[in-house]
Each structure stands twice: as structure tokens, then as C-alpha cells.
Amino acid sequence: MKPWILHIALIAVLATAPLWLSPYHATNLARIMVLAVFAMGYNLAFGYTGLLSLGHALLLAAGMYAAGLPAQLWGWAAGPAFIAGIAGGGLIAAALGLLALRTAGVSFMIVTLMFAQAGYLTLLYFAHVTGGEDGFAVVSSGRVLLGSDLSTDTPRFLAALTIFAIGLLASLALVRSPFGRTMVAMRENEERSRMLGYNPFTVKLAALTLSGLYAGAAGAAYALLFGYVGASFATIQYSILPMLYVLMGGAGTTLGPFLGALLMFALIEAATVLTTAHQFIVGAALVVLILFAPKGILGTIRERWLRWLP
């Protein structure tokens, strides 16, 4: 019961944030929640199933374009566009998994990286539709959800919070379910799981597809809440970011992705004030973290103090 109370309490606290945060910080929190959904998806694949992917930018971009293009080309409203974005992320993840899951370990990293790079170049190649490197600003008619304008502060925050809350509670339910334990079994000992009668390929494919649904939701949410779709989101940088969030917060912890996204965002904000070499500070912080808390913040807390932390 404790995990559910903790997660719901976090959502409740976040829901009150616009009351005690400035509009600037509240908008940033909306961004962080969207990024955290992306990281939660990455965590399902990497943290729980042991699939170290370097291709998640492809899934984020799949959701982003699957939502943004129908809004742009055919005038879809935000609701259907968002659903299309989730589906886009899931479909591309399933297709990626069918091919890439024939490999494992370092090969899996390289194959996913290559598919993501191919996806990025495809976006550039079909620039007349995708807008290429420049991308496009999503039309305002595509940013309306049930009569609410998602380009305004309160509806945007509530939409981000809703997506985040659903994603967080679903991931908690998932990792505590029998299937969630099977995912962990794949991470811990794939051969033993196979001997127990599980099919590692289907379990990993399902986990990667679920991860894609999250990435797609995050990509679609970014497009519709912040109004921009562009190929830069398909670059390697956006494959590495969720990994860093998860490593910082704690791989294989349900709240780790949010904590990692929050701290990384804050770290960049603080570092830019101090120095122009802010990327160095971020890098140094990660090196320190990996050296002294390799399981991430919540992973370390769980190991030492709170064994019940999911």
C-alpha cells in the first residue's frame, strides 16, 4: 500500500504546484513531466528489462510526428493527434523490436542507434512533408483539447500532469504485476527465465513496445503542449537524455525517471548561471554519480533505507 500512497501523494503535490510556483517554473515543471514520461518508458526497457537502447529518440520523434503531422496536414484536434502519437511510438517500437531484438547487449545498442539515425535521416530526406531540420510550429487549431487551448498555462500544466499521472501509476501497476516481474527476470537472467518456460523474445518485444507507447506519448505531448515538431528530437542526444535521467534518478525505480529529469533540468538551469561550460558540469555530476551511487539516487535509497520502494 505504501508505494501507492507515495505515488499518489507525489501527484497531489505536483497538482498544487501552480499555486506556489511562478508561471516560469510551473511551465518548466510541465516540460519536466513530459520528459519524465519519456524517461519512464526508457526505464521500462532499460531499468526493468535490461534493454540498453540508444535508439529511443526514434520513438520520441515517432510520437511527435505522428501527432504533429495530422494536426498540421489534416487539421486534427489535439485529442486524436495525441492518440495517433501514442500509437506511432508503439508501432515503431514494435517494428524496431522485431528486428533489433534478434541481437542483445552491445549489438542491440548499435542496431537501435543505427535505426534511430536512419529515422533521423528519413525526416531530413522528406523535408517537404516533415519540415526537415527546421521542423514546423504546430498550428493553433491542433493545440485545442476539449475546448481548452493547450498553449495557455493552466490547460497545458493540467494536460502534462494528467499524462504524467497516468504514466506513473500505470508503470507502478505494471512493475508490480506478474508481467513486470517477468521483465525483471529477463534483466536478471534471461537463460533461467527461458528454462522456466518464458519466451524472452515476446517478453522483451512487449516491454519495448510499452516503452515506445510512453515515448510516443511524450513526443506527442511535447508537440501539442509546446507547439513545435522538429528533427532535432530524433538525434542521438535525445536517446542519451532519458538514459541519463534514469541513471541519475535510479534505474529500475518507478520514481527515478521523474527525479532524474527534475534534477537534470535544475542542474542545467543552475549551471548556465555559473559558467558557459554548463555541459561540463552536467557531465561531471554524472561521473560522480556513477562512481559513488551507481544505482542512482532512488536506487541507493532503496538499497540502504527503503526496501519497499518500487
Binding site: 518548466n28 510550429a137 513545435y228 548556465t272
Partner: protein, 423 residues
């Protein structure tokens, strides 16, 4: 009996009045002298860093000049630089930070098109004027919004279109284009192909090179033998390889005339070993890097203020070559802001809408220290400025200006009327 403990009513009123006056005075005086804060979205890191370095220097120089001349409407001006890492996502966050956190009156300075595209929606949401120095066609194409303007630099469509008549008349009419296979290259492909056709010429081959390519040898055999002009717009670190391999391909034999855009060589010394093959070739420049013999009267002042020598390099380091054909835009944009703010007697963020309307009303921008690159004409409907372009030839490893176009040559029909859009 009155005392300090038991004051009279008059005493109390006087003391209260004096207190109120004292409290109000510094605030009042402060409001008069409060600086205008201009946020500068800077490519300090990422692929735009070389441009960002010079954008910062040029903007600082303009800021010093403006403040020394009394600021804007008598108020001092501050520039707040914030790195966007040349990334659209961070760009949008930077617009937010400069506007909501730092309290800037407006935001300016963005160069890379994808950062402009990623940031402009947020500027419109915040209803803050967003003045880009990007040369992209995205503003005039109608893809952006009422709050985004480009008053300091001409756009790529105008630049390309004005080159075609000179190329057809002086270099040849059968053109092969080599360009990177993404938006920047596609703009060149589409606008130049149409423009050269209008001159009775034709593009005999279009060779698109994937942006990840590091060697170009296999593309050169695709250049038709009938090619009179090779139009190249490769950018980034691959440029040196491209030129070197092109030189090896043609050797000492006959070769087509080469025409390129200086974007390929911004912040790069044209006398760099490996670029010898460019000798005698022509380049578009917005603002001639090497001081032209017929340069305007304000050229020396501008170069001295920014810290650039007559070759377009830093006065303190001859190897630190400037991005001369782009950086003037930050200078001219600051003066454009000054002109518009003074026209509406700008007092604060509440006047932002009035400020944009005043900018839209501006048309003629004559040559002067405010516009060292040259006279300009602003189109309030498309939010885009138009100006003259230059063509330079590499002579002895230096770019020497050989031609200038007029403003009229770069004009094209409006694709949008932003003034009809709501704020």
C-alpha cells in the same frame, strides 16, 4: 503638550506625507532610469558556437554605442545573453527564461533556423517580440507568428534570387548544383533553379549530398561535362574536404566556374591550406569580409567598434576570423529596436503590442552607422527586411568584392500578411 510619544495630528500627517514622498521618490526616479532589458538568445555552445561568439561581440559593440549615445529614449539598455546550445528545445526554454525570469522587454539574436522554429511559438504564447537574425525564409514564408520579425538580415530566398542574374551574365547558364540534402540545401535548390530559369539558364544537374557524408569523391563524376558553373553550398566541417577533393578531381585541367555562398566559409580563413582550389571562384557575401575599396563611410567605425580588422579577423587574433556576413544583423536589429521603441515611447512590457505595430510601420532604413551593411527596406506585412547583396572573388586567398545588387533585385511577392493576424 506634544512630544515624540504624543505627536499632533498635523505632525503625524506631515511625517506620513514625508514618508510617502520618500518611499515614492526613489521608485519614481528608478522607474525613469530603469534600464531596458533585451534578452539575447545566444548560440554559445553547439554547432552554432562560432557564429554565437561573433554575434555576442557585435551585439555588445552596438550596445556600447547605443548607451554612449544616451540609450533608448533616455533609458540605458542591458543585454542579457543566455545560451540555447543551438537546440530548439532549449531555445524555447531560453525565451521563457529571458522573458518570465529575467523580465526582458523582448528577445532577439537567434541564428539557426531550427532554433527559431522551436522558439517562436513560445514567444507568441508569452506575447513577447522575438527578433531573429537568422536569414531563414521561415519568417517571410508565413510559417511563424505576429510576434516574430527579422529586421536585421535579408532572407535566403532574396539572397539566392539576386545571385542568378549575375551568375547567368558572367559565369554561364548551364549550372550544376551540389548541396547538402536538407532544408538549407533544398532552399538553394528550389530558389536558385527557378531564378536561373528566369534568366534563360538551366540547372543541368542537382547533386544532393547526405548531411552525414564525409567524402565527396563519388559524387563528382555526376557533374555533367557541359556544366559551365558549379554552384556549391556545402557547410560545416566537411567543406575543407569537399574543396580539396574537388580540386583533386579536376586537377589542372579545364573546370567549370565555381560559385558558392560564404556560409560555407564563415569563421574560416580563405587562405587556409587546402582551399587553394577556390582561387578565382566567386561567393555571395552579405557584407564583404575584406574591406572593399568603395566601402561606405561608416565601415571603419563599425569594424573598430566590433574589433575586426580590414581582413575580417579579430584585431587581437588574426586567426580568429569573423562571421562577417551574418553578425551585422545583431547590430542592425538593436538599432531597429531603438527606433521602434523611441517611436512609441516604450515604457514597459505593457507596450509590447504597440512596439510590434510600430515595427510593422517601419519601411525605409537608410544607410548609416545604424546599418553598416547597407540601406534596408522593411516589409511590415511579411516581417522581413530587404537589402543589397554582394559578390566577391577569391583573389590571392582573399575575398575581393566585385559586385553589389540593389534592394529591388531581392524583392519578391508577399507570401503572408502578419498584420492581419491577431496578437
Amino acid at each position: 503638550m506634544t512630544s515624540f510619544i504624543h505627536p499632533t495630528r498635523r505632525g503625524l500627517l506631515m511625517a506620513g506625507g514625508a514618508g510617502l514622498l520618500a518611499a515614492a521618490l526613489p521608485g519614481h526616479v528608478g522607474a525613469q532610469a530603469a534600464p531596458i532589458r533585451i534578452g539575447f538568445q545566444l548560440h554559445r555552445t553547439g554547432i552554432g558556437a562560432a557564429y554565437g561568439r561573433w554575434y555576442e561581440r557585435t551585439a555588445q559593440a552596438a550596445l556600447t554605442a547605443i548607451n554612449e549615445a544616451g540609450g533608448i529614449g533616455g533609458r540605458p539598455v542591458e543585454l542579457l545573453f543566455e545560451d540555447d546550445a543551438t537546440d530548439p528545445k532549449r531555445g524555447s526554454e531560453v525565451v521563457d527564461k529571458l522573458t518570465q525570469q529575467a523580465g526582458c522587454d523582448l528577445v532577439m539574436g537567434t541564428l539557426f533556423s531550427h532554433v527559431v522554429m522551436g522558439s517562436a511559438p513560445r514567444a507568441a504564447e508569452l506575447k513577447v517580440p522575438y527578433l531573429v537574425c537568422s536569414e531563414g525564409y521561415h519568417v517571410a514564408s508565413g510559417a511563424l507568428n505576429r510576434w516574430t520579425l527579422q529586421p536585421g538580415i535579408t532572407d535566403v530566398r532574396a539572397q539566392i534570387s539576386t545571385m542568378a542574374p549575375w551568375v547567368a551574365a558572367n559565369l554561364g547558364k548551364k549550372v550544376t548544383m551540389v548541396f547538402p540534402d536538407y532544408a538549407f540545401g533544398h532552399d538553394h535548390r528550389d530558389f536558385f533553379t527557378a531564378a536561373i530559369q528566369a534568366q534563360g539558364g538551366e540547372v543541368v544537374a542537382q547533386i544532393a549530398v547526405p548531411p552525414t557524408e564525409t567524402s565527396f569523391t563519388r559524387y563528382f563524376p555526376q557533374i555533367p561535362a557541359e556544366t559551365a558553373v558549379l554552384y556549391h553550398v556545402m557547410v560545416g566541417p566537411a567543406v575543407l574536404t569537399f574543396v580539396k577533393e574537388l580540386g583533386e578531381f579536376y586537377g589542372t585541367g579545364a573546370k567549370p566556374a565555381l560559385f558558392g555562398f560564404v556560409d560555407s566559409l564563415e569563421a574560416v580563413d580563405t587562405a587556409t591550406p587546402g582551399l587553394e582550389f577556390l582561387e578565382g571562384s566567386h561567393f555571395w557575401e552579405a557584407h564583404p569580409r575584406v574591406k572593399a575599396a568603395d566601402a561606405g563611410e561608416h565601415e571603419d567605425h563599425y569594424r573598430a567598434a566590433v574589433g575586426v580588422d580590414d581582413n575580417g579577423a579579430s584585431v587581437s587574433d588574426a586567426k580568429d576570423v569573423s562571421t562577417y556576413s551574418h553578425m551585422f544583423s545583431t547590430w542592425e536589429t538593436l538599432y531597429f529596436i531603438k527606433q521602434a521603441m523611441e517611436a512609441v515611447d516604450y515604457a514597459g512590457p505593457a507596450d509590447r503590442q504597440k512596439l510590434v505595430e510600430a515595427m510593422e510601420a517601419i519601411t525605409d532604413l537608410p544607410y548609416g552607422i545604424e546599418r553598416p551593411q547597407g540601406a534596408k527596406r522593411f516589409n511590415g506585412k511579411t516581417h522581413q527586411v530587404f537589402g543589397s547583396q554582394h559578390i566577391s572573388q577569391v583573389q590571392g586567398g582573399k575575398l575581393v568584392k566585385v559586385h553589389a545588387t540593389t534592394i529591388d533585385e531581392g524583392l519578391y511577392e508577399d507570401a503572408v500578411d502578419y498584420t492581419s493576424m491577431s496578437f
